[in-house]
């Protein structure tokens, strides 16, 4: 049993993003960013949290056969670029047995899944992935 207090800060620090897709919105001009940043294009440094919508559209994708070590057991990975209310996010597309059925423009929803096993601490990292809404 792994002691959860060993949980790595670099992972739990990002939980609002990894778990809830929390971006930021500029208080001055309204621009939304994911991932969050410190300074807006307009120069403002004031932001409020802005959770991205949980559905969107697939823009671009690839089926990745050569993957980093910690994803070896999950390959191939489908990596997709998804438009969530005007903000583009790149991530894994899951629950799709037939990638031939994927095409730009299809509807997807955000799901919460295991991403990988932390190779140093043996902890499981969770985060967002995307699932085609109609069967795939």
């Amino acid at each position: 049993m792994v002691d959860q207090r060993l949980s790595v800060p670099r992972y739990w620090r990002r939980m609002p993003q990894y778990y809830r897709l929390e971006g930021v919105q500029c208080i001055k001009c309204g621009r939304v960013y994911f991932p969050p940043r410190a300074v807006c294009e307009c120069g403002s440094r004031e932001f409020k949290p802005y959770p991205l919508p949980s559905t969107g559209k697939l823009i671009n994708f690839t089926v990745l056969y050569s993957v980093p070590a910690e994803f070896e057991k999950m390959k191939p990975l489908i990596m997709g670029m998804v438009d969530l209310g005007g903000v583009k996010v790149i991530g894994q597309i899951v629950d799709c047995m037939d990638p031939e059925k994927l095409s730009p423009g299809i509807d997807v929803e955000v799901v919460f899944r295991m991403v990988k096993m932390d190779s140093t601490y043996g902890l499981i990292n969770y985060g967002y992935k995307f699932r085609p809404i109609n069967n795939c």
Binding site: L64, L77, I90, P99
Partner: protein, 385 residues
Amino acid sequence: MFNTSEVYVVAHSLVPGSRHYEKGLKELFAEAFLKVLDQVGNANLGAIYVANAFSEVLQDQGVLGAFLSDYVGMRRIPAIRIESGDGSSGVAILEAYNTVRAGIYDCVAVVGVEKMHDVVNIKLNKALATITDYEYEGFFGVTPAAQAAMAMREYMLKYGYDYEDLATWPIKMHERGSKNPLAYMKKQASLKDVLESEVVADPLRLYDVAPAVDGSAAVILCNKPVKSDAAIRIDGIGIGAYGTYTGQRDSLTELLSVRDATNMALRTAHVSIGDIRIAEVHDTYSILGMLSLESMGLVRPGETPRLLSTGALDAGNKLVVNASGGLKSMGFPGGASGMYELALMVMELMNIKPFESLGKAELGVVQDMAGFDLVSTSVVLRRVS
């Protein structure tokens, strides 16, 4: 008024890329470095710039410069390691150039060195993932190949190309490599070979990927030429940056850092893009080679596959692209890639074997890039005398 020196490439060398299992970073470095040192006799080197991307991840080695300079008997000479991913070399060249230009040193060496084959492939993928925004890309499994694949898909859709049209890049690069004894990939590739190669990240296939190699390449830069015949001078150098999360890009088919770097290099060299006769571009993936050419302004957007297939970018034309066979043929030595491109460009401009039949070109450009359009450099070189 601030007086600046001219900067010449007075020596060059490269260790042909391969799986050099018997050589570590130190041996590879020494091989390339000692060759350039011997070419200039007694150069008064002020510093050594070392371009390397992955020594922490692949060799567990930090402060790399210190151990490399000691290995070649120069522990008192500062060896400054530059890390900017697979674009490390261009930044190292820029820094070295600036110190000579500013008069800080008369001569400096720039050495690119990388050992990609110290680990198994899946660990190499992990190293390559460090040239993405790791927290939001690499963390989820995004690799440079995945980014290149999406760029390729966008390019094909935007300009109405099929995969077969884009296969001209690997075919042409293999053709060049087959005539280059320094190349790692020395055999020709047919359209069938490319189409039947395994899919790495669809639509990207194995033949679209520059094969990882171990290697080292070096130059010495000085404020005056050592020999009077065929001196190569750096006339302009530029750097551009557009580092961001992939999702925040408007387009995956324009490399803005490449555009800015090239414009800066042309401006400082007082030349226009139409004056360039030979180019070596950073084709870690076919699509990135094509996008680089187009972003530099050497080829109109969307035209590269067409021009390549008609042979318009082959030797004998107004513009010759990757006469060496590019990284596709030379291999991909991580952060040392740009040093290979530079050493090859020097040989091309000097008409040195195997480029003696290339024809006398006066102006060449070398383009290097980190990750997907993160930081890029362009170097304009001129053959003088």
